[in-house]
């Protein structure tokens, strides 16, 4: 296999992230842990990678002998992952310091996890997808258990690892079956072979297993059981990263495999995706209604959001893909922001995470409360915030694909979700501060990151075309 200079140039974002990760790794291992230097180096490298990705949003080109598909599609996701990672690090710095656990290794793991996600989004081969998922997941297993001395964190890590390993098994078995029926793992070749194998039991079983593996990664019902415990037990900014970055990566893989291979034709896989979507929207929102721990609540809400996004995939059309890609970007902003605020207000030993701890927050922290309200209204899908247009687009795709029932379930599920998002706002704005609540000082870097997210949520809601046009350019 020949490797050309152009391949290396086209994949610049990857190389920047790899280099940064290696530099941080060397720094950490030779000089003892220096979290400050490590974190800023990581932020610098990731920002550079994000810029590199954003400057190349053109058509996709096959590189490295058809293993990768570099260009717009990969870079759109690449930028999304890098920006999510930068925000996660900005939140983590302060968070780990206050939890008395500030070490550089977290950033190395974050960098490698980001790299794994980028590989997934750029794969043009099932094996590459598998490699990317493993790279991402193994880093995330460790990140979940970063607080070695806490039972919750250990539980999260172990649970994530065991169930994740199981899902990986599904994934690999699915790939094997698809290989068995088509004789290739290259996605483009599978697509060419699709008309001949579309009713082949081996191929369909393989696709089903693949779907199950991906559904685990995006935490869709019925493969969602790990999410609440893992999100609750992991360090808060890491939970945010898992719920946005890891989810977006798995969605990139879903689009790459299912939309590219199956196309818009009506078939069993799309029906199954529609059912998973409906189940996720309903189950996620119903269970979230009963939560009082905010991390757990957002975990269930993220299950529901996976459902909304799957609606776009169930449609199987270009509209659906555009909707999902828009949704992923704005969902990352909203959810990272929300987890960032929760992390900033969390005190030692998982305290200050209950809903009633937020009573009167608007008096104590007016800016953070306002931003939180923006994220929550956005997640609930309220115009003119960005979450609304995401839902509009995926439901539009569903209606156009004659899945009206799915759109109706979707809006009814959103109605339910409005209730629990509003409850947090009720506590923040309408309740009085509790006497025993501890004052918390939130550093400026966290504040500005949160404000930045909130402003973007508003702007992308008012001008969704900015993202939509980019996505259109990348996809076609």
């Amino acid at each position: 296999m020949d490797v050309y200079i152009s391949d290396i140039l086209l994949n610049a974002p990857f190389e920047i992230v790899v280099l940064t990760a290696l530099i941080v790794l060397v720094l950490e291992s030779t000089r003892g842990t220096r979290p400050n230097i490590s974190s800023w180096t990581s932020i610098g490298g990731l920002s550079l990678a994000a810029v590199a990705a954003l400057t190349n949003l053109g058509a996709s080109v096959e590189t490295f002998g058809g293993m990768l598909q570099s260009g717009g599609f990969a870079n759109y996701y690449g930028a999304l992952f890098c920006i999510s990672a930068v925000m996660t690090i900005l939140f983590s710095r302060n968070y780990f310091e206050r939890q008395n656990y500030h070490r550089g290794e977290a950033y190395i793991l974050l960098l490698f996890a980001t790299l794994g996600m980028m590989v997934i989004a750029a794969s043009n081969d099932l094996i590459m997808i598998f490699l990317g998922i493993e790279l991402m997941s193994i880093c995330l297993y460790v990140l979940a258990g970063l607080f070695r001395h806490r039972d919750r964190s250990n539980e999260a890590s172990l649970k994530y690892f065991l169930l994740g390993a199981f899902a990986t098994g599904f994934l690999l078995y699915g790939i094997a079956l698809i290989y068995g029926s088509t004789g290739t793992t290259n996605i483009a070749s599978i697509r060419t072979a699709f008309p001949h194998v579309s009713h082949d039991l081996l191929f369909l079983t393989g696709s089903g297993l693949l779907l199950a593996g991906f559904a685990f990664k995006i935490a869709a019902v019925p493969f969602h059981m790990w999410a609440p415990d893992v999100y609750e037990g992991s360090p808060t900014p890491i939970s945010g990263f898992m719920s946005t970055g890891a989810k977006a990566a798995a969605f990139a893989a879903l689009i790459a495999v299912f939309s590219r291979v199956f196309g818009p034709s009506e078939n069993a896989v799309h029906q199954i995706i529609a059912l998973i979507a409906a189940a996720s929207m309903i189950a996620g929102n119903v269970v979230a209604l009963a939560q009082s721990n905010l991390k757990r609540l957002l975990a269930y809400s993220s299950i529901a959001h996976a459902g909304y996004m799957l609606v776009g995939l169930a449609a199987g059309t270009a509209d659906g893909q555009i909707g999902v890609m828009y949704y992923l970007a704005v969902y990352a902003l909203m959810n990272l922001g929300a987890f960032g605020i929760i992390g900033a207000l969390e005190t030692e030993n998982d305290q200050n995470l209950q809903m009633d701890d937020y009573a009167g927050l608007s008096e104590r922290e007016p800016v953070l409360a306002a931003c939180m309200a923006v994220f929550l209204f956005g997640l609930a899908g309220f115009p003119p915030l960005a979450g609304f247009f995401g839902k509009y687009y995926v439901f539009l795709a569903a209606v156009k694909a004659r899945l009206l029932w799915l759109a109706v379930i979707g809006v009814l599920a959103s109605l339910m979700s409005a209730y629990y998002y509003l409850r947090i706002i009720v506590f923040m704005y309408f309740e009085k501060t509790k006497a025993e609540s501890v004052p918390i000082s939130v550093p400026m870097s966290v504040r500005w990151t949160v404000i930045f997210c909130a402003v973007l949520v508003l702007l992308f809601g008012l001008f969704p075309s900015v993202i939509v046009q980019t996505v259109l350019r990348v996809l076609f």
């Binding site: 209204f377 309220f382 115009p383 003119p384 609304f388 509009y392 439901f395 539009l396 209606v399 156009k400 009206l404 759109a407 109706v408 809006v411 009814l412 959103s414 109605l415 409005a418 209730y419 509003l422 009720v426 704005y429 309408f430 969704p464 075309s465 939509v468 046009q469 259109l472």
Partner: protein, 521 residues
Amino acid sequence: MISASLLSMTIFLPLAAAAVILLFIPKENVLFVKYAGLGGTFITFFFSLFLYFGYDSAAGGFQFHQKIQWIPNLDISYHIGIDGLSLLLILLTTFLTPLALLGTWNSIQVRIKEYTIMVLLLEVGMLGVFASLDLFLFYIFWEAMLIPMYFIIGLWGGPNRIYAAVKFFIYTLSGSLLMLVAILSLGYFASTLPQGHYTSNLLELYRIAPMIPPDWQMWMFLAFGLSFAIKVPLWPFHTWLPDAHVEAPTAGSVLLAGVLLKMGTYGFIRFNIPLFTDAALRAVPYVCTLAVIGILYGALVAMVQTDIKKLVAYSSVSHMGFVVLGIFSMTEEGMQGAVIQMINHGLSTGALFLLVGMIYDRTHTRLISDYGGVAKLMPVFAACFLIVSLSSIGLPGLNGFIGEFMILFGAFQSPFLGTHAYTVFAALGIILSAVYMLWMYQRVMVGPVRQNALYGGHHLNDLSRREICVLVPVLIFIVWIGVYPKTFLRLSAPLAKQTIERVESIKMGEKINFTELRNVR
């Protein structure tokens, strides 16, 4: 160019004022915040006057058009424009908002900055709803407006405010989310036509609407209709209203009753009837039955209320029933009467809530049984209250009469209702309204002065100069519409005529062959 963006400027002026207050005025400087808010709403009012004088009512139709591409691949644009109906409601909004702020000048004591900003944002939402000619844009304003109202009730409301705020929010949302699906389906339908594409442009949808197959029409009519019925509120979807009204602060109640409820009836006229005419015709008996039940039920429940504000709230259910009856009588008179009654209700109920708020500020009670003989202590207040009550009852010479008369006239001669029973029962509602309003007036205003701890000890001051300034403009319009309604009727006449012509043409059976149309594709 100026005239093209005049409408946009009117809509977004309150937003600019809110931004200035948010960014530049410290919250300690309470008076400055109040003046900035009041100034912003006043300037908005003056801008809307330019719209009034610039609008060519002889020509009719949508004027002050502005269309800017927004999301090109879905044919969504920032598309606004107003016809006579929109203009009237925009004027009502810009007129009531400054009065609501001025009328509650001293009632709000905490978080005044946030309060002023919320009222301004609410105004933006209301104006936007009335001016949108794009369903996506309409939906954004329609929903976005819930957020400030939610905060107004929840932050500055009465003891049960959280329950009322959440109920208001969830209730309204449940209706509008189904409307969203209908909006999507409507756009999708446009894309299934030959050479069609997905669109949310209202004028384009008006053109293709008659081609929508009847069963689709019915579902979409129901989805839009539920959303509007909740907002109006049509019986049995009214239960959020008494809670929201009683708990909301005075300005919230004024704007809720004065403007927000009109958005429901506006929606019926703007969307349900012209878009889904066939379904609307089939729905006439059902909707009118609900309207008449609402008229009687609202009046009867109002009669037994012990809380003045709750009484006024239930009277709204009754009065809005009239408006719906007028609209669905599908006659020009009925439609015209409904439009004028929307304005009337905004003025008189708005004024009633202001008056209740004024006396509540003094005594901190709204129970009818706590009052008695107020007229002796506050003669000016009692006089204003009497005029507004009479207007609400529908005394000839005041505004209420015109609207109710035209609605009953329309319902009586409507070819779609088939029976005069609707008119008979609706007329009964007017009698009941006299009963509950006058009975309340009698118990509160006349009779011996109550000697209780609430206000027996100290003297009740009559209205201040500020409060009179708030009420006089409303009273002027109450008399104006009562004596010379033509000023306002001429604005809504073309729309009423046009809508009824559309209805007639559908009724005449210009049936379109749907299967043929579908097959072209």
